[in-house]
């Protein structure tokens, strides 16, 4: 039923909606993105220094951010399921389950390396460029290239 589902088990960021988003209805995602980008910068989550402190166990800060985000997320999804909350368009909320494959281990380790080097996951890359660190455009292009190379070799890699 879902667009990305047939292609493989990689369903991150999946669109559970069967409705077509028009350009206008996409604006609400732009607004949530703006809010999110502001939080990223103001919490200094996109700071390379914060990520180094996290991986060197020098500060509790990032653990607090991720941990409290997960707690709020768990409670939210539990509430959505318990009360069968619908979307504003009246659709049933669908969340695709994640299926395990070894990519989560190999890819996870490789991403961990990249995260500690760049101090950024994909989301913060966009915010870092917004803060004026224009050279991060190169990091972003390189990340897009990395994604492409993965797609190219996907069937040859252990999963």
């Amino acid at each position: 039923m879902n667009n990305l589902e047939n292609k493989n088990t990689d369903t991150e960021g999946i669109n559970g909606s069967q409705l077509k988003d028009s350009g206008f209805s996409n604006l609400k995602f732009l607004i949530v993105g703006i809010f999110f980008g502001i939080v990223f910068v103001k919490a200094e989550i996109i700071s390379w220094f914060r990520i180094q402190e996290m991986f060197q166990l020098q500060s509790f800060f990032m653990y607090g951010v991720i941990g409290s985000a997960v707690v709020v997320g768990i409670i939210s999804i539990w509430l959505i399921k318990k009360f069968d909350i619908k979307t504003i368009q009246g659709e049933k909320i669908e969340i695709q389950p994640k299926t395990f494959n070894k990519g989560q281990i190999y890819g996870g380790l490789l991403f961990g390396f990249g995260w500690a080097i760049t101090g950024a996951c994909p989301g913060p890359l966009f915010a870092q460029i917004g803060t004026g660190a224009t050279v991060i455009v190169v990091t972003l292009i390189s990340a897009i290239l990395g994604t492409w190379v993965y797609g190219f070799f996907k069937d040859k890699l252990p999963h």
Partner: protein, 216 residues
């Protein structure tokens, strides 16, 4: 950061954030408070709220690295089956990441913290040994700048690092948002495995390999 003993400090920090006073006991305006760096117990829950917001406004599962895949599908599909899908149906994700970029601009130009980024003394001493002393921005300029790009150290940090982020997240099927936040929130054990691997990779890199890269 003064958050090493979190639970003793939360209440104190929360109250002082709400009633923040300057040294001469003048109350800070709301804008001045917003301009301060936000503590984890404010920003973490706000990030967590993105999960239900995206689900409720459009049945979308939170995940950011998939935007990189959509960009590939839109620009360079090259007949690779992994990139052959209707990316336009997923364009909400591209609006979302463009919003993050705009949010970065707004936060920097209208809500900027006037002070340099506070970092632990230990980290600043460590970095000084590699000639990294500029803490004025969120990223050290000695590593992430156009001049640095053309040095071996800068190339590894900017280009190789970026490649690993893009390749690794897709191989893992998600990043911090898709696995660590969305996946664990939905109690998916594969996401928990992925998150543990992100952290192991980060610990190995930051503690065992990065020191060699930084001394290049």
């Amino acid at each position: 950061m003064s958050n090493e003993i979190p639970f003793l400090n939360i209440l104190y920090n929360y109250v002082s954030m709400c009633l923040k006073t300057t040294p001469n006991n003048k109350k800070m305006s709301l804008l001045e408070i917003i301009k301060e760096p936000w503590p984890w117990y404010v920003s973490g829950p706000l990030i967590g709220l993105t999960v239900p917001i995206l689900l409720i406004i459009g049945n979308k599962s939170f995940g950011i690295s998939s935007s990189l895949r959509h960009i590939c599908a839109a620009c360079i599909p090259a007949n690779i089956s992994f990139f052959k899908y209707d990316w336009k149906k997923e364009s909400w994700n591209l609006f979302f990441v463009f919003g993050i970029f705009l949010g970065g601009i707004i936060a920097t130009y209208f809500l900027a913290n006037p002070n340099p980024v506070e970092i632990t003394t230990k980290l600043s001493e460590q970095l000084a040994t590699y000639g990294i002393t500029d803490h004025s921005g969120l990223l050290p300029k000695e590593l992430f700048s156009w001049e640095s790009l053309f040095t071996l150290r800068g190339f590894i940090m900017i280009v190789v690092g970026g490649f690993l982020v893009g390749f690794g997240t897709r191989y893992a099927g998600g990043c911090t948002s898709g696995h660590a936040i969305m996946g664990i929130s939905n109690l998916q054990w594969p996401s928990f495995v992925a998150t543990i691997c992100f952290m192991i990779g980060g610990f190995i890199m930051a503690n065992l390999i990065l020191p060699y890269i930084l001394s290049l």
